[in-house]
Symmetry: C2
Subunit: 370 residues, 2 copies
């Protein structure tokens, strides 16, 4: 490819995922990319007319930069490149609502947007609809918002756009919830307490700093909203989605609804409070075991009955959610008209910087493959 | 989209899969397509300058056509459209070696090629290398050559092109073999004879007209060749693939190696001969059961040890190949550096006209999404 035809890439956010995105782009054996902007939360690097960002020493250069972050300057740079007939993409590796709100303007200017940031696709309907509208000019891709690098959104879009009808999507969408219940309610039995397993998960870095942010089910509700909005049968007659208020419209079972405010706002306080819930969870585990079942925190998009819910449910010990799952796997089952008797299943690690970055970079490859 | 910008589509072969491809294209709610050629094995339909192929009555029109098939005329039509700056694709829904040998010339002329036909990608190296060479001008996509509509090839390409290292791919790649062994060697036990299960599968249309063509393992060997050729670590120092002679280089266990020539060439003769093998298969099933295992016909691409093999193997009753599989499911596990402890798994129906056509049409969507 001629250097002038390289995809022009602005990377916003170089934390765990963002750093991996840059490394995977640089290491790509096939395609050429031109990095035109890099921003951390504090600093920014933009090339002058004569200077490209050094693909080897980019992080040192960024850390040494004295330019404060200016996302409107990044936008202008990309806009200029689009005007020159080049293909440009804005990669949002943050989890910021403010950055998410930039997407409609970026897309309208013909700039493509790729992101693992769930905010725009799971939040209020206005922003989401503005993005869909603006996508006539630029393209938005967000594979890693659900299942990280697993092919979930691309598979759902392929099913829908080739004319299949989704009947139900059912899965374990949170790596943290997966880990906790795979261990707490194992097929072969377990007697460790709930709080002890959460403590272990937190110590290994499998949870948010405050596990309350996993156990409230909001992350699962956000992912369900993202998927539900791709399914045409869930639109109402006005073309709006019933999930008008985003993930807050999802029927969500919080596992910590009785937690005091002090525990919800502070991880250490939360861990002190959690053992109070152990008897309650143990009782649910025993009840499930009596029925030959295990507990799994699942998400369901039931198209037929127009129900979208995140809940703690019982599954027989012979069900794939019991037999196949391990570690912090995600598993997603697509029940459709074509995949009728037997669902299409995708399974694997659904969190981690490297696999999340893989989802981002595979979206970038969709823009650049000849 | 302006009508002039529609993707120009020539569909070659309108059997079970081809018919579904046309129907899915016509029904697509989002994108526009222009059908510029349709061919059956005997007849052909090409529009004159003023006449488009009728998307409703296309099959009647094709059956009524008096134009004999002329694939060089189809090529010329597409070539002309490419010269006019239009995007064109040649869809090969046949399983013909002759049609496969057209790909390099089509690609060189800037015509994209999409196909579920395994011949070109699993056959001798010369044709495959010519295709890869010619793909600088046109793009070739063949998702449905492995796992039908399941995202197998796209997932493998995403893993490889984002810099992951494949350690091993292991799976049940044949829907027919899956059905036969899921029933013959079920987790809960089974005492039905091998020939009786094959007879039932044949009666339900789950096998080739002669089941010998499934049981010889060649179909699995072809799929393994297709996957192995996507993995850079399996190239030798000259950039050639060790699978130089295509699928015939794969270590393949035929389940019917003792069959007489008359049975290999005639399905009814084959079914008469097969019961002679029942004692042999029953003995293997018993041996596996004694070890707490089931029999599965699997394919393995072991990158680390550079072994590619199709074989009948024993798996513990707790393994996903035993617990998760049912019907005529395919299941494919990608063990990679990133998906290290726990593999990325894709599972679901791996055969059928509708899901195979879905794989073809999802490849077409990759060309046309804005």
């Amino acid at each position: 490819m001629e250097p002038g035809k390289y995809l022009q890439v602005a990377v916003v956010g170089v934390g765990g995922v963002g750093t991996q995105v840059v490394e995977q782009l640089i290491a790509n054996p096939i395609y050429g990319f031109q990095l035109v902007a890099l921003t951390s939360s504090k600093r920014m690097l933009q090339p002058t007319k004569d200077l490209c960002i050094n693909p080897i020493a980019w992080k040192d250069a960024l850390n040494a930069s004295e330019t404060p972050v200016d996302l409107s300057a990044v936008t202008s740079t990309l806009q200029e490149l689009v005007k020159q007939g080049k293909k440009a993409v804005f990669i949002d590796n943050t989890s910021s609502q403010d950055v998410a709100e930039m997407y409609p303007a970026l897309l309208s200017a013909g700039i493509n947007v790729i992101t693992p940031n769930k905010k725009a696709f799971s939040g209020e309907a206005g922003l989401y609809q503005a993005i869909v509208q603006a996508s006539r000019s630029g393209r938005y891709l967000h594979e890693s918002t659900v299942g990280a690098g697993l092919p979930i959104i691309s598979t759902l879009r392929d099913l829908v756009e080739t004319g299949d009808k989704v009947v139900k999507i059912e899965g374990v969408f949170s790596g943290t919830m997966s880990y906790i219940f795979n261990n707490f309610s194992a097929v072969e039995g377990s007697d460790e307490s709930f709080s002890s397993i959460v403590k272990g998960a937190r110590a290994q870095g499998y949870t948010e700093p405050n596990p309350a942010d996993d156990l409230n089910g909001a992350d699962v509700a956000r992912k369900l909203t993202i998927l539900a909005r791709i399914i045409p049968e869930l639109k109402d007659e006005q073309g709006n989605f019933p999930l008008l208020h985003g993930y807050q419209s999802v029927e969500t079972t919080s596992l910590i609804q009785d937690a005091p405010a002090s525990a919800v706002s502070n991880g250490d306080e939360f861990m002190k409070w959690l053992p109070e819930q152990d008897a309650h969870f143990s009782q649910m585990r025993e009840q499930a075991a009596k029925e030959g079942s295990v507990l799994r925190y699942v998400g369901v998009v039931d198209v037929k009955n127009k129900v979208v819910k995140a809940e703690l449910a019982k599954y027989p010990k012979t069900h794939p959610f019991a037999t196949s799952l391990g570690g912090s796997d995600n598993i997603i089952m697509f029940h459709t008209e074509r995949y009728g008797k037997r669902p299409l299943i995708v399974q694997g690690a659904g969190a981690g910087n490297d696999v999340t970055a893989m989802g981002v970079v595979s979206d970038i490859l969709k823009l650049i493959r000849p």
